[in-house]
Structure formats: C-alpha cells, structure tokens
Amino acid sequence: MLAGGALLLAGCGKDDAAAPPPRAVDALLRQLAAERAVVAALAPTAEREALVSRLRARAGVRVRRLAAAVSAAGGRPHEAPQGEGGADPEAALEAALTAHADAVPDLTTREQRDLVADLVAGAATDLVLLGARAEAFPGMRTA
C-alpha cells in the first residue's frame, strides 16, 4: 500500500517533469512573430534601398535562428504568424526588441540566453541604423 502510494507519487512527479515547459516556446513564438513582422515591414523600397535590404537580411537571420530555437524547444515555428507589409519599420523593430527583452525571464538555458542576447543587440543596432535615437533602456516597458 505504502509502496503503491510511493509509486503513484513518483509517477505523478515523473509526469510533471516530463511535461515540456511551455513558457519558453511561447516566448520564442512571440519573438518569432515580431521578427517576421520586421521582415515584412522592411519591404524593398527605392529610398535607402541598400540599408533596407541589409536590415531585412539581418532580420531574416534572426527569424531563422528563432525558428530553429522554437523547434529545439519542442514548438512549431509555423504557429508564429507571418508579418504583414505596410507597417512602420521602426515601430516593428521596437516591438521586436521589446518582445526579446520580455522573453528573457522565460528563456533559461545558456543557449537561449545567448540567443536572446544576440537578438536584443541586433534589433537595437538596427533601430539606430534606421535613425532612432540611442536610449539608455531600449526595449524596456515603462507603462
């Protein structure tokens, strides 16, 4: 009886431990959606063509890294929506940067933290290349 109860408890614990942590996947999917929106917002244009093309390529790299991280964490990259064109690129980059910073608490492995550090730095860099002012706390929500 006691042994059975212990096994039952052990089984419950095992089931709990086996369940994938959903928070990392959810956070990564939000980041992926935000970066896909950046790519869509950086539509080819005659104005600043070289810069926009370069930023679009950089955002594409971030999308690919995030998609791989979603898969590695047990998620499905296609669950993150594709971005829609017509959005303001600077606003899209600010949203992506905030999504990356917001994700930090949910990304706990060394690989995920290295990834988010790269994503934060990349999005922040691209923001100033687009003409945004440098800030002390980019991506930090204040409201």
Binding site: V104, R113, V116, A124, T125, A134, T142
Partner: protein
C-alpha cells in the same frame, strides 16, 4: 518611479521565497556589483574623453548604474563606490579616459562599448531573478546602440 517600484517589488518577492532562490540571488548580487562598477567606470571615461559624438553616453551609463544599484539595494546589498580617479577604472574604461585625439577616443570608446555588450551577454547566462535579467537585456541593447553609433562615427561598418 514606476520602473524602480517594479524592480523593488520583484526583488522583494524573490527574497520572500525560502532557500530555493537564495543561492541564485546571491549570484545575482555579485553580478550586479560587478556591472555597477563597469557602468560607473564607463560613465567616468565618457566624461573624461568628451567629444560631441559621445554626448549623452555618460548619462546613459550613469542611468544604468543607478538602475542596477536600485536592484542591488532590493537584495539588501550596497554597490561599489564610484571611481574618483582614472587609476580606479577597469582597463577598457581607462583606455578611453586616457585617449587623446578623436580617432583614439572613438577607437577606445568602441572597444569599451563592445566589452560592455560582452559583459552583459555573459551576465545574462547566469542572472536568475527575472526583473534583473530583463533589465540587463535592456542595458545590453543600449550598449549595442552606442557601439553602432560610434562605429558609424569612426567610418567603420556599423555592424561589422
């Protein structure tokens, strides 16, 4: 300030947890102390080597130090004292403070900001408290922006 209140509340909640978080918070406190020292040194160096291209960077570094100090205080610790002379600076900050002439100032400022990005990247691997880790990520973004603008001013590839 709202951000400060949020930081204090989050750190206080973490402290209320028993032993599980104690070791992690101890580690966070040590990291915060080192980052505060780096930021204070960077602020000193940017002030010492002032050129128009760096205007405002010293204020950003000082804001970083204040935000980190608030979080460290919420963990019940005091941060390091601010440097009073260039001799007290870490190596990358000392190089900027000692630089003479615009090219040397830009070169050493780029190296300083790059070293700060690296420091926060390393810190993010270890920081446990969510609000502290999130703040560190935002500060990392700020240093990445500084590095980019400085590289542009120096005529380098901004993302090279």
């Amino acid at each position: 300030m709202r951000r400060r209140d949020l930081v204090l509340a989050a750190a206080g909640a973490a402290l209320a947890r028993p032993t599980a978080a104690a070791a992690a918070l101890e580690g966070d406190a040590a990291i915060l102390g080192r980052l505060i020292a780096r930021e204070q040194a960077a602020a000193y160096a940017h002030r010492a080597a002032f050129v128009p291209e760096l205007a405002g960077f010293d204020a950003h570094e000082a804001e970083h130090a204040r935000a980190l100090r608030t979080q460290l205080a919420a963990l019940g610790r005091e941060g390091p004292a601010a440097p009073r002379t260039a001799a007290e600076l870490d190596s990358p900050a000392r190089a900027l403070a000692d630089a003479a002439g615009r090219p040397a100032i830009l070169d050493t400022a780029i190296a300083l900001e790059a070293s700060l990005v690296d420091a926060y990247r390393a810190a993010l691997r270890k920081l446990a408290e969510p609000s502290i880790a999130r703040t560190a990520a935002s500060i990392l973004a700020g240093h990445a922006q500084h590095r980019t603008l400085l590289r542009l001013e120096a005529g380098r590839d901004p993302v090279g």
